[in-house]
Structures are given as C-alpha cells and as structure tokens.
Subunit: 131 residues, 6 copies
C-alpha cells in the first residue's frame, strides 16, 4: 500500500469521477490505473495532472511512441519504479518492439555512464555548444 489508499469509483468526488471517465473514454478501456486512484484524494491535482498529460502526450511534433520512450528514460534516471512500469507498458501498447526496447535501454545506459564520467571530470562546456 502507498501513503494513501486507492479510491474506488464509489469513494471519489464527482470531479474525480469525471476525470476517471475521461481517462476511460480516451483510452478505450474501463480500467483506471492505480496512479489516478491514489491521486483522486486531491481532485484538483488529479484534474490538473490529467489535463496537462493529455496535452503533453497528445499529437504534436514528436511521435507518441517517442514521447513514451522519453518518459521511460526520465523515469528510469529518477528511479521511479511505477513510472517505468506504466510507461514501458504504454510504449509497448504504442508499438515499441523488443528490439527498440533494447536500444532504448542501451541509450539510457550509455547516457548514464557518460553523465557519471563527465560529472566526475567536471568538464567545462565547449564554447561551440553554447547558443
């Protein structure tokens, strides 16, 4: 269990239930995952987070699958287990193949490695990289 309980449809406020139903409609499934059920303790935060997520992860300049992989990358670097699980699942649902998953992990690992070496060396930023 988390630091708060997971709320059922019967336990949430009307505002939170409306968010749950919007999640269902957009995703085409009756399932509402645990994150939203925990967040429903604060309906305003729930609604703001969901509304923003729809915009950020929706159609735009980057491919939806690419966005999910970037989400996985950030979540991995931050060590958020739930986020890695949920967004890896979302990436697979959007077509990420096993080979792409392997490459994603390879790039994450490479970036982590050089992040560490660069920080240990405290390398000055090249003038050529500055805008």
């Amino acid at each position: 269990m988390g630091t708060v309980s997971l709320l059922s449809d019967e336990e949430v406020s009307p505002e939170a239930l409306a968010v749950f139903n919007d999640i269902r409609a957009l995703r085409g499934t009756d399932y509402v995952n645990n994150f939203w059920r925990a967040l429903a303790h604060d309906p305003a935060l729930l609604k703001a987070t969901w509304e923003r997520l729809k915009v950020v992860m929706g159609p735009g300049e980057l491919d939806p699958l690419v966005k999910e992989m970037i989400y996985v990358a950030v979540s991995t670097a931050n060590g958020c287990s739930y986020c890695v699980h949920s967004h890896t699942a979302a990436a697979k649902a959007k077509g990420m193949t096993a080979a792409q998953h392997g490459e994603l992990l390879g790039v994450i690992g490479m970036a982590m490695q050089t992040n560490g070496i660069v920080t240990g060396l405290q390398v000055d930023v090249d003038e050529v990289f500055r805008t």
Copy 2:
C-alpha cells in the same frame, strides 16, 4: 577547469590520438570536444567509451535524432550540464527543430512532475503493467 586538464593532440598517447582521429573522421570535423580531451588521461577508458558510443548511437532500430533526445532526457534528469549542452547541440545538428525541442522539454517536465507525485504517493504497480 575540471578535475583534470584538457589534453592537446601533442600531449596525448598514440592510442588516445587514434581515438581523436576516429572522432574527427566520423564527424567530418577537426574539432574534438572537451569531454574526449579530459578523458584522454585514461586512454583505455577513452577508447572503450568512444567505441561503445559509436555502436549505441549508430544505426539501429531507433532514429538517430530520437536517440539524441533520449540522451538529453537522461542527462537532464541526472543534472549533467555538459551532457545537456553537448547532446542538445547534437540533436540540433541532426535536425531537431525549435518546436521539437519545446516538446522534448514538455515531456521531460511532465515526467519529472509525475515521477515526484507517484513517488510521494508510493503507488503500487498495477498487475496489468507487470510482464
């Protein structure tokens, strides 16, 4: 200055110079950026890092620009200034537009935000997300 000096071509070992020259050949420029000049104090680590980077960031299942954006995402979450600068520059060189950069930052910000909220809530992973 960093924790080590930046080595000129004249100061590095033959093994390190060979890496510098491979970087030049692959990138089509005479410029060798500071990271490699700092890393050249350990020619074996320099060579291993460069050889691995070529493989990971080279042709594969993911688009080279996508790989750079994932690299930026990880580097941002880890707070590596040099890495953010160098890989944002690399992404721009591979065609990242200002609009794509904005979306990348939006996804990074969104992921960071929910990473924090999820971790604060300590949400249990849904069974449906587990393999």
Copy 3:
C-alpha cells in the same frame, strides 16, 4: 529483507539498546521502527544518526510539521521509498491533513517539473538572485 538483518532488542549491543530506549521515551511508544533495527549493526552510526536527528528535527525556527514535509520532499526527489513512507506517517502524526498532503505533492510535482525544464534549458542564473 534488506542488506542486513533487523536486530531485536536481545540481539543488539548495550549502546544500541540505550538508543532504542531513548527513541521509545521520546516518542512515547514501545515501537522501534525497522530503520533503527537495521542500523543497530553499527552502534556508533546508530547513535550519531539518532542524536543528530533529535537536534535537527527538534524545536527551532521552523515548525516540526514543516520540517517533516521538507523531509518528505527531499526523500521523494531522492526516490527513497522507506523514507517517504516513514516521514509521511510522521507528518500525519504531527497533524498534516489530507488537503495539506495534496498541496505538498503539488509543490513537489511543480518543483520537479521546472527543475527538469530549467536543466534542459541550462538557464543562466540572474544576477539579481546572487547574494
């Protein structure tokens, strides 16, 4: 299980037991939580950590509940599940309401989000912010 076992009162050294009993006296409960039972493998580290915690989290310029919320914020950013659980429980015990918990998560999420965007942009610090 952790990387070390949890020690019972019967298994710990007299120095560690004295710390356990001080924890009990200060908190008004017989329960000693797992962190201290794991840390008791190193009685000196146990004692130093507890003695310092008492000072830092004790009466001072900041309200005890505010201190717990700051503790939760740091622990969340660092991804320490145990710490998020234990200090969220402590905050609740010191009166944190569900509405305050929601706001705390909102601020954490906002800070994480702008931390990511600022780091991705590598914004120079304004002169006006420097002492």
Copy 4:
C-alpha cells in the same frame, strides 16, 4: 548561455508577452527573470507552466513561505542550481530569516543522509507506516 537564447520583450510572440506582463503584474516588478525568457521559445509551454505555478504556489493550505522552502528542498535534491538560487531568493523575499535558512539546510542535509543510509540498508517498510 543556455541551450536556447534569452528572448527580449521585442522578440517574443504576443502570447508570450502576455505571460511576461502577467508575471510583472503579479510580482509588482518590471523584471522578468531568465527562466521565462528562455521558456518563451515555446509560448504554449511558457503559458502552461506559469498558469500552473500560480495555482500551486498561490494561497492554499500551506503557507507561501513553506511552499518556497519545499521548492528549495526538491531543487536541492535534484541539483538544479538555477532553481535553488531563484527559490531561495523567493523564500527570502517572503520573509525567510537566516536562522530559518540554516534550519532548512540542516533538514535537507539530514534527509539526504538518512536517504543514503536507508537505501544502502534496503530497509523494508514497517507495516505500521502503510495506509
């Protein structure tokens, strides 16, 4: 310089300028700090971030100064220099004394310390801490 330039009032879009002016009005100063001038390359992200920040950091269940200190705590754990500078300045502007600043740093340091020790010990969460 950052990964993007800082935009002057003359260089930004009307939508971004409207945000700048809202920042000025709310803060009672003509100064718009670098974060917003960098973010103005993406007016939609600028607007969404500012609108959300107003809500999260505005009046609510927690004292505005407490919110700023939580913001500093998260930014410190994430190593965001700009954010530490700007929100420490904001906290001072909202009345944080030198003594409170010292206590804030003490709590951050204490949390970081036990985050590390707990993670190294991999302590299981006590049942009593779970909701």
Copy 5:
C-alpha cells in the same frame, strides 16, 4: 516481475547462452542472476555489458573490494535497489566485514548530507581545487 521476463537457458539465443556460461566459469558457480536473464532479451547489449564489466571490475589499480564498495555507493545515490543488493552481496563475498559495511554507509551518509548542504548554499568552487 520486471518490464521483461527472466529468460531460462532454454529460451536464450546461443550468443546469450555463451555469456551465461562465461559468467558461470568466471564466478565458479552455476547460478546466473536475474539481471543477466532479463538483459538476455537483447543479446548484443548483454554481451557488451558483461564484457565491459569484466574489464572494469577486474584486476587493476584499485582493490576489487574497493571497486565493489564504490559500486554500492553510486547505486545507493541513484536509488537502484537491485544494484545495492547485488553489489553489497558481491562486496561481502570479497571480504567486506560488518564493520567496513558500517563505515561505507557512514561515508555515503556523510557525502549525501554535505552534497545537500553545498547544493543548497551553491558554494563557488575554490580556485585551489581547480586543476
């Protein structure tokens, strides 16, 4: 379960099985731990990671036990539970005593603490520390 399944010897490719057998030979045990079984979904990444690990953690300028303790320190700061468990076990197998483990945790905690305080203070680097 993770984001991928753990592969048995019967399920992996010949290239991955060769890595498993090299792990067995080098460690003198038939047991192949979960990390490698998960990574075997991408035989090339598996092989590259293992080959590099052998070099980095093998004989060199630093004592093998010291290398494991450094590995634990990094993994702790990054909040990687699996890595803390596996490398603490490896350190114990290489002779780390309970007293050394306690000191390792003490140093990690001290470093985390001052990392937080220094970052909160945004202390300028002394000229004397720069190369």
Copy 6:
C-alpha cells in the same frame, strides 16, 4: 556567488572561528575552503557538520583514500560539482594516482550504466542476495 556570502574570519562568530581554527590545525594549513565559510552563517550547523566529518573520514576500517573515493562517487552520482572538486582534490592529496582516478571514473561510469539498465528492466532482486 552562492545563496549566502562567504564569511571572513572577522565576520564569523567565536564558535565558528573555533571551527575554522580546528580545520586549520587538523589540515596543517591556514586555508579554510569556501564550504565552511558559507556554512558559518549557521555556527551550530557548521560545528555539527565538521565534528561529524572528522569522525566519519578519520581513522577506521577503511583506508582514508578509499573513503575519499567513495565520497567522490556519491558526489558524482548526485551531481554536486563543488563536492566532486573538493573531494577529488582531497583524494589526490591523499595519494590518488592518475591511473587510480581513471579506474574510479570507470567504475562510476559502469555503475551508472547498469543502474540505468536495471531500473529500466525493473529486475526482481534474487533471493540469494537477500540477507
């Protein structure tokens, strides 16, 4: 400049000056580095931090140089530039060779890399690693 000014000997309290003088005596130099001069705004935090540092980094089960390298490793993973600089300098002063520095960076990079891959895979901890 940081979030607070650096205090000269003339500006600090007698309690803080006593800490400065103890630092001088222990290190055999008149130089007091910036961290302590910034921390002197809170003499109690200054004293507690210094007293604890002396114990943790002093004689014990681990070699002083090993402790410094562990300190560098944690500071690198946390992205604390000042800490990386100051403790790398301290490690060099205690005899760390260029070859050892290279190996330290190699281990840090390797750990960062597998931290990322393991977290991305969300590998379950092997029973054999649990105490």
